[in-house]
C-alpha cells in the first residue's frame, strides 16, 4: 500500500524540503531533490500500471478524513485503467520537463522556488487523478489551480505575469464554483462522494427532477452540467478559454507541463471519470460535444494570425482540448482519453521546442524573443530543435502513422457515427484540422525557414541549446511519433486498438455502426485536410512570402477580429471587469469607510467613554483601597449578623 501512497508523496516531500530550505541552503541545487523525487514517482507509477495491466484495480482508503453523521470522506486511492493512463502521462512528461527545466531555468533567482512549485503541482495533479472520491478530487483540482497561479506569476516582477496569474485564477473560479456546486449536489442526491457508490447508484435517479427557480430540472442533467462547468474552466473551453493564452507569461516548462500536457486535461479526465453520470443525460452529452466542437474551430481560427510563438501553441492547445470534449460528448470516452494521452507528448514537445527557441534568442540578446516576426532561418542554427519541431507538427496535424493521426482520426470517426449532430460536428472538426495544419506549418516556416528577420548581430550568437534541454526534446519526439501506436484502428490492424480495450472496463467501448467505406472516407478526408493545410502554408510563407500581407489587407476586418481574438477579452472587460470594479469602488466608499471603519474605530472610543468615568475610582492611594476593603468586610459581617 505504501508504494501507492508514495507516488504523490515524493513530490510533496520535494516541495516541502525545497520551500523550507531552498532560499538559504539549497539554492541552485534544488533539482537534486526535485528530479529524483519525480523519477521515483515515475518508477512507482510504472509498477502500479503494470499491476493494472495484469487486471488488478487498486481501491484503498488510506485514512478516514471527515466523519460527521452520514457524511463520510476518506483519503483514498483509486488506480484503475483510466488513472493508470493519467499517471503515466503526468509522471513521464513531468520527469522530462523537470530535467528540461534544469537547463532552461539555470541561473534564475527563483530556481529553488520554481522546483518547489513544480513539485507541488505534480503532487496536486497526482492527487486529482488518484482520488477515489469527489472531495479529494476537488482538493487536487483546487491545488493545481493554485500551483498554476504561482507558476504563471512566477516572474511576478513583470506586471503582465502577475496579471495573467490573477486572470487564470479568477476565470477558473467561475468554473470551479459550478464544480463545487456539482459535488454538493452529488452528495445531497446520493449521500456519498465515493466514486463507486455514486456511479453505482446513478441509474436509480434517472428521470428525477428538482425544482430550481420555479423550473423543473432533470437532476442528473443538472449535476452533469455543473461538473462540466468546472471542466470548461480548467480545460479552457469557450467561454472560459481566455486565461490559457495569457498563461503563457509563465516560464516555458510551465506552459508545457501545466498548460498543455497535464493540468488543462483535468477537465477531460473528470468528465471521463464521471462518464457513468454523463451517459444518463443526453442533454449534457450534447452540450459537451457542442462546446468542444465549437471551441476546436473557434480557437483554431484565432491561432491563424497570432505572432507570439507560444500564443499560437496555446490556442492550438485550446483547440485540441475542444477535440477531446467533442469525443467525450459523442460518447467516445476512450478516444478522448487517447487523444489526451498522445496530445500530451506532441504538445509538450511543441512547447519545449519553442522554449528552446526562446532560450536561444534570449541568450543571443534578441529583443521581443517570442515574436515569430523577428525569427526565421533558425533551421541551420538549431537543427535538433528544428527536427523535433517537425516531428511534433507532423503528429499534431495528423499525418498518417504518427500519434496524432490515430487519436484525432478516432475522434473524427466516432463523431461521424453519432447521428446528424455528429455529422455537423465532424465537419467542424475536419475544418479545425485544416486550420491546425495551416497554423502549425506557418509557425515552422516563420520560425525556422527563410532569412533571419531580427538583428544580424544577434544571429551570430544563436546556437543550439545544451544537451539537458535537447535530450528531453528527443525523448518526447519518440513519444510524439510512437505513443499513438497503442491505438491503431481495426481497419488497419486487427486488435490494434489496445488502449481502447484497456480502458473499456472504465469507459466502455462505443459500438460503431458505420461501414468500412465510411471509415475510409473519414480517414481519407482527414489526411486530405492535413496535407491541404500544409500546402496552403507552404504557398503562403515559402513560395510567395508577400502573399500573407496582401491577404491581410484584402480581408482587413476579418484579420483584425481574429488578431484581437474576437474581442472576447475586451467584451469581458466591458461587461464584467469594469462594472465590478466600479461597483466595488462605490461599495468601498460606502461600506468600508462607514461600516467597517465605523465599527473598528467606534468600539475603542465607546470603551474610552466608559472607562473615563470608571478610572476615577482607581486613585492609586493605598489607604483608599484599604478603606474600601474594610467597608466591604463590615458589610459582609453586618449582613451575616443581621440578615440571618
Amino acid at each position: 500500500m505504501l508504494k501507492y501512497i508514495l507516488i504523490p508523496l515524493l513530490p510533496l516531500l520535494s516541495f516541502i524540503i525545497n520551500i523550507l530550505f531552498g532560499r538559504n541552503y539549497i539554492k541552485n541545487r534544488a533539482h537534486w531533490i526535485a528530479v529524483p523525487a519525480i523519477l521515483g514517482s515515475f518508477v512507482l507509477a510504472v509498477s502500479a500500471c503494470i499491476e493494472v495491466l495484469n487486471g488488478k484495480v487498486i481501491d484503498i482508503n488510506v485514512y478516514s478524513w471527515i466523519v460527521s453523521g452520514s457524511f463520510n470522506v476518506s483519503v483514498g486511492i483509486l488506480i484503475d485503467q483510466l488513472t493508470a493512463v493519467m499517471l503515466m502521462v503526468v509522471t513521464s512528461i513531468g520527469s522530462l520537463i523537470f530535467i528540461y527545466s534544469v537547463g532552461y531555468m539555470h541561473g534564475d533567482k527563483g530556481y529553488y522556488r520554481f522546483f518547489a512549485y513544480l513539485s507541488l503541482f505534480i503532487f496536486s495533479m497526482l492527487t486529482l487523478v488518484m482520488a477515489n472520491n469527489f472531495l479529494i478530487m476537488y482538493l487536487g483540482w483546487e491545488a493545481v489551480g493554485l500551483c498554476s497561479y504561482f507558476l504563471i506569476g512566477f516572474w511576478f516582477h513583470k506586471k503582465s505575469a502577475g496579471d495573467a496569474g490573477k486572470k487564470a485564477f479568477i476565470v477558473n473560479r467561475f468554473g470551479d464554483f459550478g464544480f463545487g456546486l456539482g459535488v454538493i449536489l452529488i452528495f445531497l442526491t446520493f449521500g456519498s462522494l465515493n466514486y463507486m457508490e455514486v456511479f453505482g447508484a446513478a441509474g436509480g435517479i434517472v428521470g428525477q427532477t428538482i425544482t430550481l427557480l420555479g423550473y423543473k430540472v432533470d437532476l442528473i442533467t443538472l449535476i452533469c452540467l455543473l461538473l462540466f462547468c468546472g471542466a470548461m474552466g480548467k480545460s479552457a473551453q469557450f467561454p472560459f478559454h481566455v486565461w490559457l493564452p495569457d498563461a503563457m507569461e509563465g516560464p516555458t516548462p510551465v506552459s508545457a507541463l501545466i498548460h498543455a500536457a497535464t493540468m488543462v486535461t483535468a477537465g477531460v479526465f473528470m468528465v471521463a471519470r464521471c462518464n457513468t453520470l454523463f451517459s444518463y443525460s443526453q442533454t449534457a452529452m450534447n452540450t459537451v460535444a457542442i462546446v468542444g466542437g465549437f471551441t476546436a474551430i473557434f480557437a483554431a481560427t484565432i491561432a491563424l494570425v497570432q505572432n507570439d510563438i507560444k500564443r499560437v501553441i496555446a490556442y492550438s492547445t485550446v483547440s485540441q482540448l475542444g477535440y477531446m470534449f467533442l469525443a467525450l460528448g459523442v460518447g467516445a470516452y476512450s478516444a478522448g482519453v487517447f487523444h489526451l494521452y498522445t496530445h500530451a507528448f506532441f504538445k509538450a514537445l511543441l512547447f519545449l521546442g519553442s522554449g528552446s527557441v526562446i532560450h536561444a534568442l534570449h541568450h543571443a540578446k534578441q529583443d521581443d524573443e517570442q515574436n515569430m516576426q523577428v525569427m526565421g532561418g533558425l533551421k541551420k542554427h538549431m537543427p535538433i530543435t528544428y527536427w523535433v519541431f517537425i516531428l511534433a507538427t507532423l503528429s499534431i496535424t495528423g499525418i498518417p502513422f504518427l500519434s496524432g493521426f490515430f487519436s484525432k482520426d478516432e475522434i473524427l470517426w466516432q463523431t461521424f457515427q453519432a447521428g446528424d449532430l455528429g455529422k455537423f460536428l465532424w465537419f467542424l472538426g475536419a475544418l479545425a484540422a485544416l486550420l491546425t495544419a495551416f497554423y502549425s506549418w506557418r509557425l515552422i516556416y516563420l520560425t525556422f525557414h527563410g532569412e533571419y528577420r531580427g538583428d544580424t548581430e544577434c544571429e551570430s550568437r544563436i546556437h543550439e541549446s545544451p544537451l539537458v534541454i535537447t535530450i528531453p526534446l528527443m525523448l518526447l519526439a519518440v513519444g510524439a511519433v510512437a505513443a499513438g501506436w497503442v491505438g491503431i484502428p481495426p481497419v488497419f490492424l486487427e486488435h490494434g486498438d489496445k488502449i481502447g480495450y484497456f480502458l473499456a472496463p472504465v469507459l466502455g467501448h462505443p459500438e460503431g455502426h458505420g461501414t468500412h467505406a465510411q471509415e475510409y472516407f473519414v480517414i481519407a478526408s482527414s489526411i486530405f485536410v492535413a496535407i491541404a493545410g500544409w500546402v496552403i502554408a507552404y504557398i503562403m510563407y515559402i513560395k510567395n512570402p508577400g502573399l500573407p500581407e496582401k491577404l491581410f489587407s484584402a480581408f482587413r476586418p476579418v484579420h483584425k477580429v481574429l488578431f484581437n481574438k474576437y474581442y472576447i477579452d475586451e467584451f469581458y472587460d466591458k461587461t464584467i471587469v469594469q462594472p465590478v470594479l466600479k461597483a466595488s469602488d462605490k461599495i468601498i466608499l460606502a461600506f468600508d469607510v462607514n461600516v467597517i471603519e465605523g465599527v473598528v474605530n467606534g468600539v475603542p472610543s465607546l470603551i474610552g467613554v466608559f472607562s473615563k468615568g470608571l478610572r476615577k475610582i482607581q486613585t492609586g492611594l493605598l489607604s483608599n483601597y484599604a478603606a474600601v476593603m474594610a467597608i466591604g468586610v463590615l458589610c459582609v459581617v453586618g449582613y451575616m449578623f443581621f440578615m440571618r
Binding site: R615, K616, Q618, T619, G620, L621, L622, S623, A626
Partner: protein
C-alpha cells in the same frame, strides 16, 4: 481560669487597633506593623477557641498564619526598601503611580 470572653475581647481590641492604624496612618512601615497586629489578633482568638473546644485544629492554623506572616513580612519589607531606593519616600500619599 480566664473565661473565653476576655480572649475574644482582647482579640477584637487588637484587631480594631490594627485596622484603625492601617487606615489612618500614612507611613508604610507603621501600616505594615498594624497588619501584623491584625494577624496576631486573629491568632489569639484561634488559640483561645482551640483551647475552649479542646480541638488542635485552631493551633495548627496558627502555625500556618505565623509562617505566612513571616514570609509576608520578608517580602513586604523588601518591597518597601526596593521602592525607597528608587523614590526616597515611604509615605503612601505620595505612592500613587497606579492612579487611573
Amino acid at each position: 481560669m480566664v473565661p473565653l470572653n476576655w480572649y475574644i475581647i482582647l482579640s477584637a481590641v487588637m484587631f480594631s487597633i490594627g485596622m484603625f492604624g492601617f487606615l489612618s496612618r500614612r507611613n508604610l512601615v507603621i501600616m505594615f506593623i498594624c497588619l501584623e497586629l491584625m494577624l496576631n489578633a486573629v491568632n489569639v482568638s484561634l488559640v483561645a477557641f482551640s483551647h475552649y473546644l479542646q480541638s488542635i485544629n485552631g493551633q495548627i492554623l496558627v502555625f500556618f498564619v505565623i509562617t505566612v506572616a513571616a514570609a509576608e513580612a520578608a517580602i513586604g519589607l523588601a518591597i518597601i526598601i526596593a521602592y525607597y531606593k528608587n523614590n526616597p519616600t515611604i509615605k503612601v500619599d505620595e505612592i500613587n503611580i497606579l492612579k487611573g
